[in-house]
Every structure is written in structure tokens, then in C-alpha cells.
């Protein structure tokens, strides 16, 4: 599935860019994140808990930054496993920052592939959950920066 969105943050571009690399703080913006660790300057590992009604999944995984072009563009991959539901997720993401009137526009795209038992859950539920996650992330990011 693909999620594409953009939002405007009332803060200067450099501040936003810096924040993206403040891993502990950035991690706090992702709903359901439990523990983020820096492995090296390009790699982070962590645990993400996602709940849809009674169904809870815990993904343990790694984020690898493949492109870092200060101060406007990042791209990377995410790979996570949820052993208890025999599921895994693989995603490519990219984000671009542009200075605009009123602050910074952050545009991002995520191409994700959910595999395993959870993948049978149902297209709209998975898409809606993913969208909600990214929407909450955006909201939290703005709250931290504005």
C-alpha cells in the first residue's frame, strides 16, 4: 500500500531538519513506539506496538537511512517482524522539506508491504491504520516543533 501526504509545520526548515535526527525525540512522535536505539549513524532499531481493536501487534525492526540530503530530503527503508502474529512489514519511505510561507512543508511517501497473518486482515483496515499512524505522527511532530 502507498501513503502520501504533506502538512505544514509552523517552524523554520533547519529546526525541523534537526529534529528529524533527534532520534529519541522523533521516536516519541511515533504513536506506539517503545524503545528506539541508535545502532550506527544510519541505522536505528526499535519496537512498535499497533492496536486495532482487540488485535495487538508488536513489530521489532530496523530503520536504515539510505539518503540524507540536508536540509531537504531523506529516504530509507523499514523492516519489522511481529513474531507472535507471524507477520512482517517492509517499507520504503521518503520525506522532503520545503520552506513555505508560514514555516516548512513536510511531504512524505511510504510504500509498505505487510506480510504474514496480519496481511489477511483486510485492505481498508490496514490502510486506515497506517494512515492513522502517519496522521498522528504528523500531529505529534507539529506539537513538538510549534
Amino acid at each position: 500500500m502507498q501513503i502520501k501526504d504533506s502538512f505544514v509545520i509552523n517552524a523554520p526548515q533547519e529546526k525541523v531538519w534537526e529534529f528529524l535526527f533527534n532520534i529519541p525525540k522523533l521516536g516519541e512522535c511515533v504513536p506506539g513506539i517503545e524503545s528506539v536505539k541508535i545502532v550506527d549513524d544510519k541505522t536505528y532499531s526499535g519496537k512498535l506496538v499497533v492496536k486495532v481493536g482487540p488485535i495487538k501487534s508488536e513489530f521489532t525492526g530496523t530503520v536504515i537511512m539510505t539518503e540524507v540530503n540536508a536540509p531537504n530530503h531523506i529516504a530509507g527503508t523499514v523492516e519489522g517482524d511481529d513474531k507472535s502474529s507471524a507477520s512482517s512489514v517492509k517499507a520504503n519511505f521518503s520525506g522532503t522539506l520545503t520552506a513555505v510561507d508560514g514555516g516548512t512543508e513536510a511531504a512524505f511517501q511510504v510504500d509498505a508491504n505487510l506480510r504474514g497473518r496480519l496481511a489477511q486482515f483486510g485492505g481498508p483496515v490496514i490502510t486506515a491504520t497506517a494512515k492513522k499512524l502517519t496522521a498522528d505522527f504528523a500531529k505529534n511532530l507539529r506539537a513538538q516543533l510549534e
Binding site: 481493536g53 488485535i55 495487538k56 507471524a86 496480519l118 483486510g122 485492505g123 486506515a128 491504520t129
Partner: protein
């Protein structure tokens, strides 16, 4: 090894106390229709099942002060066959009677159906149109909220972890309609569910109108501005079409195996129109 503990309390308060004790490890089971499927597909793995099967008196169907009171443990099959329900609201009889197939209805309870909050279901839309209320029991207290505040999102309701839905209360409406559209198999889940409840005066002027859409959206939804178009008017063909189109315009349906968002937008217009026509002609 991973044997699930099967507990059988005899009252709702006992059941909710067990939920409070076990927290995340426990799951309520009534008819078992949704829960068994999720267990089988290994989407949930509770260590405790709190069965409501031994609770007596939880399946009542009765009229009290001109409102229909249904116990959460009433089976869909019994609701479908109930004379009381049929006389009170034939559209509700229809909504109960089209859920899944006869084998499902023999097992499933209305409380379970609502608590599972599966978006592709029939009763939620009809009950929302009827402005139903639900009673939620926790160890300490019982509270009542409108059904419109009960469904929060996919498979998520306003139930606290230690609460159980015990009763549904439905006000009386003179004219009602339920439309279920199955786009593929007759026994499949709905592509679209439309519930309408309306009140007209003696000259056929509309006094009140509620139209709830289900199965095409995350939780049952109404478009209040469109409903308002009917107030103090007769439901002419033009008005019916206008309301139906407004619903189609305003709602953002989802895409799944039963239909795309585009198709559902089209069907919303078709079935809101059909439901309004049925209500207008007093085809109860």
C-alpha cells in the same frame, strides 16, 4: 501448554469483574461468532475467555415506556423471529434477519455483534438510524450512551477494558426502512447498509429524518445537513434524489473486496433513494 481458561460467570457484574482482574489477557465470548474466527485465524491469543453463556435473563425482548429494550445476549435468530420486534420496527427485523446466514444467526448475539464493531455489519447502521442507546456495565457502575458514540473505529468501541454491553434501547419511529446491498454473494457481508428512521405528520410532511450508512465506512455515519433538507417538506422525487446525492457527495467510503470507494459512492445514492422511497410510501 496454551490451554485457554474458560470462565462462566452467572451475572454481568461478575463477568466485568473478571475482565477487570485479567485485563488484556481476557476476552469476552457470547455466541462466539467473531471471537472463534479471530482465535482460529490467530489474530488474538487471550489466556482467558469470559463466557456470558451462563448469564440468565440477558436475552430479553420487551417494550418499556414505548421503547424496545433488548438484552445483549438475545440471539439474532430470536430477534429475527420476534413478533414484538416486528410490530415495533419491521426494518429492524429485516436488519437482524439478513446477517450472514442462518447458521450465524443461530449463534450470534446482538451484544456480540455490536461489540465486535466489524464495519461490514448490518445491525449497527439500522440501530444508529433509530437513535438507539446502549448500556455498558463495569464492576462499579452501569452507564448509558447513544449508539452513535459507541463505535469509534475499526473493531474499536467505547467499551472500557472492564465493560460489557448489556442492553440496547430503541425509541419508536413510525416509519423505517433497512436496505442491505450485497454486491457479491447473497450470504456475504454487506457492501452497503442503509438504515432510515422517519416521522411524518398527517399531511405527509417530514418532521424528523435519520439516515445512517454502514458497511461502506469505518463506523456508521449520518450527514445531518442532508437529513435537514427533509424537515418540514414532503419527500418529492427531487428532494429524495437531492438527499441521496448529498449523502453520496459528503461521505468518503472505503475500498474492499466488496466494492471500490467509487462504487460505494454510487450505491449510497441508489440505496438512500430506495430507502427514502420505501419510507415515503409507508412500505414498512
Amino acid at each position: 501448554m496454551n490451554r485457554i481458561k474458560f470462565l462462566e460467570p452467572t451475572t454481568f457484574s461478575e463477568a466485568s469483574a473478571l475482565l477487570a482482574d485479567y485485563g488484556d489477557d481476557a476476552k469476552v465470548i457470547a455466541g462466539g461468532v467473531s471471537v472463534t474466527l479471530m482465535l482460529q485465524q490467530k489474530l488474538i491469543a487471550p489466556s482467558v475467555l469470559v463466557s456470558l453463556g451462563r448469564i440468565s435473563g440477558g436475552d430479553f425482548i420487551r417494550i418499556e415506556s414505548d421503547e424496545l429494550h433488548i438484552g445483549a445476549l438475545a440471539k439474532l435468530h430470536d430477534l429475527e423471529r420476534s413478533q414484538i420486534v416486528r410490530e415495533f420496527c419491521p426494518a429492524l427485523t429485516k436488519a437482524f434477519g439478513v446477517v450472514g446466514n442462518v447458521r450465524v444467526r443461530n449463534q450470534a448475539t446482538i451484544g456480540g455483534n455490536l461489540s465486535a464493531a466489524d464495519y461490514a455489519a448490518d445491525p449497527p447502521a439500522m440501530l444508529t438510524a433509530l437513535n438507539a442507546r446502549v448500556q455498558l456495565q463495569s464492576p462499579e457502575e452501569k452507564r448509558e450512551i447513544p449508539l452513535s458514540e459507541f463505535f469509534l473505529s475499526f473493531y474499536t468501541t467505547a467499551l472500557q477494558p472492564d465493560e460489557i454491553l448489556t442492553e440496547i434501547i430503541i425509541p419508536k419511529w413510525p416509519r423505517t426502512s433497512y436496505q442491505k446491498f450485497s454486491s457479491i454473494s447473497a450470504e456475504g457481508r454487506p457492501c452497503l447498509a442503509v438504515g432510515v428512521a422517519a416521522d411524518f405528520d398527517s399531511e405527509n410532511i417530514c418532521k424528523d429524518l435519520r439516515i445512517a450508512i454502514g458497511a461502506a465506512v469505518e463506523t456508521p455515519q449520518r450527514v445531518v445537513e442532508a437529513e435537514a433538507m427533509a424537515h418540514a417538506s414532503t419527500l418529492t422525487d427531487e428532494l429524495v434524489a437531492a438527499i441521496a446525492n448529498e449523502y453520496s457527495l459528503r461521505l468518503d467510503p472505503l475500498t474492499d473486496v466488496r466494492g471500490s470507494a467509487w462504487y460505494r459512492k454510487e450505491m449510497i445514492a441508489v440505496f438512500v433513494k430506495r430507502a427514502l422511497e420505501e419510507v415515503r410510501n409507508d412500505n414498512r
